[in-house]
Symmetry: C2
Subunit: 406 residues, 2 copies
């Protein structure tokens, strides 16, 4: 029986650190097949991907990933809990034996001990969390205070670190659902998640994107930090689409949207809570850029990430009623295949008869409600491209997955 | 007491035929004050105006109109019945003694006789109308058949002619509401409503727009058919906004909208009836232009005008629930002033204490629901302009009316 190891990724863009992660995960898991579940055209922190999911998939399939699955949009642009739920269950449905994630902590037993500790102190955690939220702290800030209160730091997990937070959510999803998956972690080395500057051949995706957008081209500094195939995909995408996506590409369309919506419609958008519709509406007419607009809306309570996510939902017209059902369901309703290698195909041939959910390889005419959100999000993502390019990109969604190495 | 004569206009753009109409109406009515009620940024036949309402207002105020009122958006982009209701009641609220409209028939007693005849034959008219609609005829076509059936042509009104249809609706609104307004009509002379080519100094607005859009500039043929002030306004607008509005400017945004809406949302848009949401949705991905899209949706039942109106409602996000109340109310909830001359000001000073509804001169923070639609429609209209221009244009909506000749 082939053994598969799962990775939870965004690849925005795919860089040398990701290659390192794949190799280390393969070593740690000793798996025969590396399966990644990746956010599609919009990312966890509420941003459009620098290039589309198919281009990012190609780069990964040529660099060690055997099967690329799509994390459904409904889970992808969410805080760690729902993000982890979608990602871990997708990997569980495809039958991985292990999941290997990068973390600042680097020791999986610390995550497990922390999970057990939090389970034990759940009640007191919830009390302090609620108190802190009521005081006007943002959710991440309030969580940090509550974790500190129950003494989580004694268990060596610093939950102010972004990759520790995600890793904790993965472990928590695995353990609380009693999934037959072994969690593994690799210590993140040189470069922090949010590092702004590229300093060598291993750089954060944030710093790589920043350099690309600033220079408007792939400088030697950038190419040093990414595999050649990522450079090729980026260049090809830019030639075809005329741009690498940033939020500013969507400013006009977002301003139009908000300025033609009623307050009650705005309040029906997922993530718009606590009267935020008034702030979004009020700041719209005078906004001169996406960044300036977020700056004008931002308060202590609303983090930048939370507001960015809301703008994804506004852009793609995602309602509260679209997302609420995801909290209730136990697992994911389908697995969507973006691409695979011949090794991935061999694995799939072995497992596909035992799958509990449909394996979807292209969008159909009557898709699952969750796939309808995917389609809507992709339509929104491609809407800023020239007519012929966006038509071509949208058609990609309807074609079979990418197959490498036949 | 000053006497006012009302005109119901679109001025898209204001041309020599409109100057003639004002003079003839003044002679026929012997009024001291000429008041026009004009469609705003979107027109009755479901099109964006070639330039904004303020530019069109300026041209008219310098050419014989004393007071320019805005026909609320909720009435403006509608078939003749609701259009006439909004226009006639607006003029009634401002206290006009007469309304003078252009028509192919040219004799007001024919309209009155026709109205009485239709009242008398109402039942049989409705039966034939319904039968024809059930056979799949469009509404205008079905009406024509029903009018013919009850023998309306014996009364010299040909209700296949667009200006006769509108005139008939004005007369019908006046008579059925027992308004103290005298209907007057002027025979339209040389140029038909839909004439495609400019043939002299009096040309249809359709032919003038067509020539402007085709040439992308104001050729001598165009300038011959419009007053100098219209030419100046058109040039100024083009310099500032970078375009003269056509539907094609809105194609990308409309395609984005439809491709991020659910079928049920699409069905909630005003005018989307009888499963039309499926046709609109199905044809969206492959549409390559606005015109091609309408062409793909069109059937015998859905006229071009009806589909264009639906696209206005889609663009401005106007729901069925936004428009339904307008059918129930007896009159209009306010009068909105776009501009006036000193003579218009003198008239207003005389009547303003007797007005039954508020006279609104700029959009306020808590507008009437009907004014909220106005704002939404204007936001949609301006959304295709460059950032600084659209901000400036939107601010115009919040400033006091244009005053000429102080």
């Amino acid at each position: 029986m082939m053994q598969a190891c799962g990775l939870i990724v965004e690849y925005n863009p795919f860089h040398n650190g990701h290659v390192y992660h794949i190799h280390e995960a393969q070593k740690a898991s000793n798996a025969d097949c590396m399966i990644a579940v990746m956010s599609g055209n919009f990312l966890q922190r509420g941003e459009p991907a620098i290039m589309d999911k198919f281009s990012r998939t190609k780069a990964a399939l040529l660099s060690g990933i055997d099967i690329m699955l799509e994390l459904p949009f409904g889970y992808a642009v969410q805080s760690s809990e729902l993000f982890a739920k979608g990602a871990v269950h997708t990997l569980n449905e495809i039958g991985v034996s292990s999941i290997c994630f990068g973390s600042e902590a680097g020791n999986v037993s610390d995550f497990i001990k922390s999970y057990n500790h939090v389970q034990h102190e759940e009640e007191s955690f919830q009390v302090v969390l609620k108190q802190s939220l009521n005081k006007g702290y943002s959710f991440p800030e309030a969580s940090r205070i509550a974790y500190e209160h129950i003494g989580l730091s004694d268990h060596h997990i610093d939950l102010t670190k972004p990759n520790n937070i995600l890793g904790y959510s993965y472990v928590s999803t695995i353990l609380s659902n009693h999934l037959n998956i072994k969690p593994l972690t690799i210590k993140r080395t040189s470069s922090g998640y949010h590092d702004q500057a590229i300093t060598g051949s291993i750089a954060s995706a944030t710093s790589i994107r920043k350099a690309i957008h600033q220079d408007g081209s792939l400088t030697p500094q950038v190419t040093k930090a990414i595999p050649a195939i990522t450079g090729e995909q980026l260049t090809e995408y830019r030639n075809e689409a005329g741009l690498w996506h940033t939020w500013e590409n969507y400013f006009n369309i977002l301003q139009y949207r908000v300025m033609t919506m009623s307050l009650s419609e705005l309040a029906s958008i997922h993530g718009v809570e606590e009267g935020l519709e008034y702030r979004i509406k009020k700041t719209a007419p005078n906004a001169t850029s996406f960044m300036a607009w977020i700056e004008a809306i931002k308060t202590k309570r609303y983090t930048w990430t939370r507001l960015q996510r809301i703008f994804v939902f506004l852009l793609a017209n995602i309602k509260k009623t679209d997302i609420e059902p995801l909290r209730m369901t136990k697992s994911v309703p389908y697995i969507r295949l973006l691409g695979l290698t011949s090794n991935g195909q061999a694995y799939l041939n072995k497992v596909k008869k035992q799958l509990d959910v449909p394996l979807i390889s292209k969008l159909s005419r009557q898709p699952d409600p969750l796939l309808q959100l995917e389609e809507r999000a992709s339509n929104a993502y491609y809407s800023v491209l020239p007519l012929t390019t966006r038509q071509k990109m949208r058609k990609q969604e309807l074609t079979p997955p990418i197959l490498i190495g036949e």
